[in-house]
Point group: none
Chain length 139, copies 4
DNA sequence: GTGGTCTAGACCACA
DNA sequence: GTGGTCTAGACCACG
């Protein structure tokens, strides 16, 4: 099961949220070449979006060379052609979001420490306190 | 100087980024009634944005009752009519972003602790280590 | 008025017929850079197809670098980046069709001369006998 | 050896190219009743196509009454039941292709005469100048 | 007015 | 079952 999160209300086109997140999963090595992607219909149902939206995301990723399709047999992660993200790129991607979070916090009167506290709480809600996903630290 | 940050590339309409952020500033009390807003031209120049975009944001905020115009004398924050954000609403707004940050981190192979570390670094870059904005904690 | 001809019944996706024909028009110099393309809606109406089909064709031509869009102001032919067709390429493109025509003629019992006769007749029907489009010979 | 030409890249389903061309061969009398068709495997190999595709084409032609199978003994052209193409139908079929050729030529800057010249050249390449298939003129 | 996105649902091709 | 294409119509962003 792919961990993809889409936001229906923030104005970012859904197909773009998908292409971005899948790109990141591939570039970070979480999705390895030859992995079978969920079918268009399955992913559409999982995310509660229209299948055509998934079709478009898959198509753009295919033209970008990140996915490929086997006739009538599904969609697969293409063998690595582009170089994966460097540590530097990852930091930049995440810094953008972290910065947005801090700014928003500031606007609402939250300081760093309260933000971080909130991040911890969200993390526990997402993964459960049981220590699941602990291995993420090292991957 | 207003702390507004816009992102030209993420697909979110600029006018909407503006209305949202200004709304938050007002709702959290950071922008108080009768404060004069920057002129359309000034803000457009500051943000490197088409003046029409600022016009639209101001217009929508005026319709919403958050701003008002004095003929020929500028745009001002309206007296508080709507209730400001509750603690609950603030948490929800920020949690959304925190969650998106955590998910993106997971996709790129970052765990909570490395994310938090990154948040601290971003914070220092934003405000400088010198302790500026220290007062944010208490507001 | 663009001379585009689509065939709803031959199984070739309409968007592909469009991209191919427009590509040829550009590559052969019949559509010059900075020419404004017909609007999505106008072309859809002219060809009696769904606007989304035209949207798709335009989008693919844009990612291919042959067209570009001005925000809210229409679609334009991009400055020539790719090299236009060589005489050789034109011949190859047309030879494929000519060959298909000859094969089909053969299957139906038509020899070369009757085929050529038919081509002449079609030509007159298309452009009228009055000599319109005579200048095509030299362009 | 059947003269069938398939195009893997133009989007027309292969099985349909096959059914169409075989239909034309039968309707024009080039394939006479009780002629044995090539085996599925042989034709698939000749055309470099998946055998299932040939199976499908044969199946549709069988349903249409143009072919029939002798159990374990191959596939045969059925006795003429449907009326063969009239002169009128042939012209229409060929005119479509001729028109497409002329339009494409126009887009690429070719006039009628150059198109016809090209048709003659293709014809010679296809059959050789030696006069093979000369009899086609009279069939 | 322009293009951009999305939905819902249809039909087709391929394995 | 898979993906591919198309339609009809909605709503949005931008000028």
């Amino acid at each position: 099961m792919l961990h993809l999160s889409i936001n229906q209300t923030d104005g970012v086109p859904i197909y773009r949220q998908l292409t971005q997140q899948i790109t990141h999963l591939i570039a970070s090595g979480r999705l390895t070449p030859e992995t079978e992607m969920p079918s268009v219909r399955a992913l559409a149902q999982q995310l509660l979006v229209n299948p055509n939206t998934v079709v478009r995301a898959y198509r753009e990723l295919e033209t970008a060379g990140l996915l490929y399709k086997k006739q009538g047999a599904g969609t697969y992660v293409a063998p690595q052609t582009a170089t994966p993200y460097t540590e530097e790129e990852c930091r930049r991607l995440l810094s953008e979001r972290a910065e947005a979070l801090l700014m928003e916090g500031w606007r609402l009167g939250y300081g760093v420490e309260r933000i971080i506290e909130l991040v911890r709480e969200c993390n526990e809600q997402l993964w459960g306190q049981g220590g699941a996903h602990k291995e993420e630290e090292s991957s």
